[in-house]
Symmetry: D2
Subunit: 349 residues, 4 copies
Amino acid sequence: MRFASDNSGPVHPKVMEALATANEGWALPYGNDDWTRSAIEKVRTVFEAPEAAVYFTATGSAANALALATITKPYQTIFCTPEAHIEEDECNAPEFYTGGAKLTLVESQDARMDPDALAHLLEAKTGKNVHGAQMGPLSLTQVTERGTLYNLDHLRDLTAIAKRQGLPVHLDGARFANAIVALGCSAADMSWRTGADIVSFGGTKNGLMGAEAVVIFDPELAWEFELRRKRGGHLFSKSRYLSAQMDAYLTGDLWLDMAAKANASAQKLVAGLEKTDAVRLLHPPEANMIYASFPAAAHRRLSDAGAQYYPAPGAMDGADDTLASCRIVADWSCPDAHIEEFLGLVAGK
Amino acid sequence: MRFASDNSGPVHPKVMEALATANEGWALPYGNDDWTRSAIEKVRTVFEAPEAAVYFTATGSAANALALATITKPYQTIFCTPEAHIEEDECNAPEFYTGGAKLTLVESQDARMDPDALAHLLEAKTGKNVHGAQMGPLSLTQVTERGTLYNLDHLRDLTAIAKRQGLPVHLDGARFANAIVALGCSAADMSWRTGADIVSFGGTKNGLMGAEAVVIFDPELAWEFELRRKRGGHLFSKSRYLSAQMDAYLTGDLWLDMAAKANASAQKLVAGLEKTDAVRLLHPPEANMIYASFPAAAHRRLSDAGAQYYPAPGAMDGADDTLASCRIVADWSCPDAHIEEFLGLVAGK
Amino acid sequence: MRFASDNSGPVHPKVMEALATANEGWALPYGNDDWTRSAIEKVRTVFEAPEAAVYFTATGSAANALALATITKPYQTIFCTPEAHIEEDECNAPEFYTGGAKLTLVESQDARMDPDALAHLLEAKTGKNVHGAQMGPLSLTQVTERGTLYNLDHLRDLTAIAKRQGLPVHLDGARFANAIVALGCSAADMSWRTGADIVSFGGTKNGLMGAEAVVIFDPELAWEFELRRKRGGHLFSKSRYLSAQMDAYLTGDLWLDMAAKANASAQKLVAGLEKTDAVRLLHPPEANMIYASFPAAAHRRLSDAGAQYYPAPGAMDGADDTLASCRIVADWSCPDAHIEEFLGLVAGK
Amino acid sequence: MRFASDNSGPVHPKVMEALATANEGWALPYGNDDWTRSAIEKVRTVFEAPEAAVYFTATGSAANALALATITKPYQTIFCTPEAHIEEDECNAPEFYTGGAKLTLVESQDARMDPDALAHLLEAKTGKNVHGAQMGPLSLTQVTERGTLYNLDHLRDLTAIAKRQGLPVHLDGARFANAIVALGCSAADMSWRTGADIVSFGGTKNGLMGAEAVVIFDPELAWEFELRRKRGGHLFSKSRYLSAQMDAYLTGDLWLDMAAKANASAQKLVAGLEKTDAVRLLHPPEANMIYASFPAAAHRRLSDAGAQYYPAPGAMDGADDTLASCRIVADWSCPDAHIEEFLGLVAGK
């Protein structure tokens, strides 16, 4: 029962095949190879953005930090939610890559940023002149860090507020595919059509070995990004092996199929959890990630059975019926039998 | 004929196999997996350093920059040769990762640092007090950037000079295996026994997909390194795929076999080039990399035949017998037929 | 009527005299002069800290940023209030000087940090491992940015929470003298005896031309500070002119006399404001800074009379009896007649 | 006998007077005062640059680092001589303020940069693509760090080479006034007319207490500079005291008079030294700074008499007639009697 994260399952066999195929013969390094050219074109097609600059990195933190560094000055601040991965889980990578910019936390509900709070904050920053941090990009995460989604109107509202101040918008799409599938919209709808200027387009959490794309809709930023990627040690000499992953990902809807499978598994879990009286969902589980609380006794049963997921610290310690929270994540490779077993243990059957 | 670099050939089949094996089932992320544990132990065994802290990165620039950042303060300067990869080919990655340290260039012959020049420079720095950059680590590259080697005495001399000032020593071993094979010594001989404190142990240029190890002989620096790796976006969630490469590399002498093959190919090239009167070797070719000059006519013949190597800018433009320089690199996968063909074209037969 | 800030009045005549005296003859640069030696000793005496390392800077932002950089790693976060000068008014100087550390905002009342909120946050950070920002120093401001004070118990509570986690404590004492006078305690009481490890000891807001001291109770940090000061461009060649200011400041209680005068002026303002029905004090005015709201009509009368203070944006625009907020600051040079006039205009007499 | 540096003499009485006058009454902080407005206009007039952005800092390192940071990207390199103050004497301040840019050393004679060496280096950098440091500004020092001067043609040659590559030019004018006086040209001639884009215009080494101007000929860079100055902790709240110094400096040719006096004193020293057989001038002493070597016996006589200057380490230790080098600097306040005494001791009379 592996529900700890969508980064612990195997790489999809088709991706492994693509790597094997890419391994035939020689290829020029640093992106001057056919696999890279092909993968870039596929990203552009998916995003309906034929002019976009597209680059590949091996980690999501690299994608985010490089994307933000490309559009942020060191005396600016980036607006994000308190739950944002860039705030909570990157050990100051954005501060490092931007050369010392700040992150300003904007109030949120269920990890979705509140437009009024953003508008209010931007207004307050306006009067600070040279003394305060200058206003920099807005960074939003979709799927959010609590497993919820912004609908397209919500995205549009937030980016419009930023754009009234001339601020660029970054989208952290570590689970971009899961969001697309859940919303039933296109990549273009969820990015440039709703105001995103630069996107971290994730693959690693959705069946790749380690490959993300940064999609930059303004190609004038391309060279700036390339220099920062090199300086960060993120330019791969053997680029074909990053590109081949992304190429396979975007071939024949593999990316959407894997995300659909992950979301469906999560929804099966949700449906099962909702049948158990003692379970509380902490945030609406709209993609492949569930935050829930249930009795310590259930946590202990899961633990005894070796289930992997993220119970809160101390979740095993309470009295049998003390509610304790946890995070449960499904990925493309999740067997139905694991779901059944997990639900059975929660329900105590 | 692919002699442009040792980063353009395929990944060794045994490494691809290891990746396929590593792909079975689930694994905890961020290095909490069996492949990572196994690969770390193998590195420690090879280096005869059971206490060493060992970490994997996907690029050599990341390995170098993180290693240096772990032992350099932002107000210090790093001593290296003018040819050093960290000076010439990393777009200021060391300056970035150290938070603004300087690089001080020490005179070299054939890209080997001159001990007298180093001693002289360190002495001159001593009197600067708070005003000048403070003395930081010595960084040496083995195999050097011009294809030459330091023998162990030379290494010992240089590190002794640094250590008299209390300075730590970094070894950029992007081609560590090629050096070991050429010198016929052990990894321990060429690292901690001759004064290295931290090593970038390369794999990418020697048949891996993209994996290097940073070997830190003082385990007290481990946590500092881990935080800097994370902050640089170089901590892989799916670590097993880095580790599996390194594990296969150090299994059954694969790393030494590949390096031996690359070196032998280069020596065949050297032997052939030396038979051609018009060829001049620019530096002693002691491992798998050759710097040579030969007539523009030969460069044109190679170019017409589609040979891949690095001729100097304008090498094709001179009169037939104008000498023009180039770099030629052999990797593990180099077919003998390519060598024959290349030599034939140089010789004009 | 000059109540805009305590940085707009003249330098005290005794300080000007000291500068004139210091200007006689030659002096070795960079702090190797008698004025600097004398001023350092006076700071140590005032703080009852004979071993402390003491350095002078010309601005409070430099003092804060250098002090924090000396005790913060780039992968850490600094804990401060949302109102903190280092968060709000230094254009990312702390992020810059620390090499990219973060600031984490801790809830406050009247700009005093809430100990429970701090304890809660530190606990939450404990579980983040390598992924989150690591815990760095606690930074407190005394007098706070809203004109209130921590009493010594409150300081002790906060620093104890930090110290339980091994975190160092920085005190931003831009208005240190005003706090000392208001609390009736000693400099030692308000610094190392209540847990501060490093203090920005302000002078510029209290009658100096531009001089602050950084007081470091652990002398082992001295060299680190010196290098960072030099690298920041804050080492003055003609140091005697910074030191002479600080020397005069600490001679014959001048620093306390000026602060007492500033506080007394503010208390006269408070007493007068409290007599006017429509005035609301927004925070307890415990030193020389007052946050109040009163009717727009009063703001307009003040504005027409040329009074200098900080009304909130739009304060002049409302209906006559609309309350609008403002900041009023008194310094050592404030004439009583200005106070009378200001109060008369507020009261509408 | 004070010849150690031009930073150890007193502040000129007219500057002290200006400070006293500026101290009358209140003034708005952060540059919103009449003294600042007046001083800015005087700088613009001197430079014949009515549109120039002009800012004041208290140290030369701050002026240089902020000027360079305004025109350098973190992935670029700055071209300077091996003797440059920014390379040798600022403890990595340029690397810090630029966010990690590199300094590339260009060959020099008598600390004057060699145009051919510069041209050659820029050409070599052209082919590095994303891998090498990108080309950033050219930084020249006038008066050079060895007391020599560039004539205007030499300046023009160097800046033309930079400008052919589109690179901006910084002039470190810590001793700008001494150069102007020695060359007999105007400030405009020695800056924008010969290709400088941004100038550190020194005052501290020429009779001020601590004030430099940064003159930026492209006013579009003004805001970038202001933010970086604030972020560096170099924005003074009580700006009037920096500005009043600069205002007095540029009133009635005080700046030129002081520089002329310093240069004349140095020339008297040179004339005297040249009369002594055993003295060798190490560089042409063209302004107020002399590098010479003379017998150890003379160094000992000077030392015994308490003369302040910079003998090389060990200069006192040799046999009587062993030549040992030293630096001798004259400032505006140098009494003729000191010169006589110094020369007498060197000559051994």
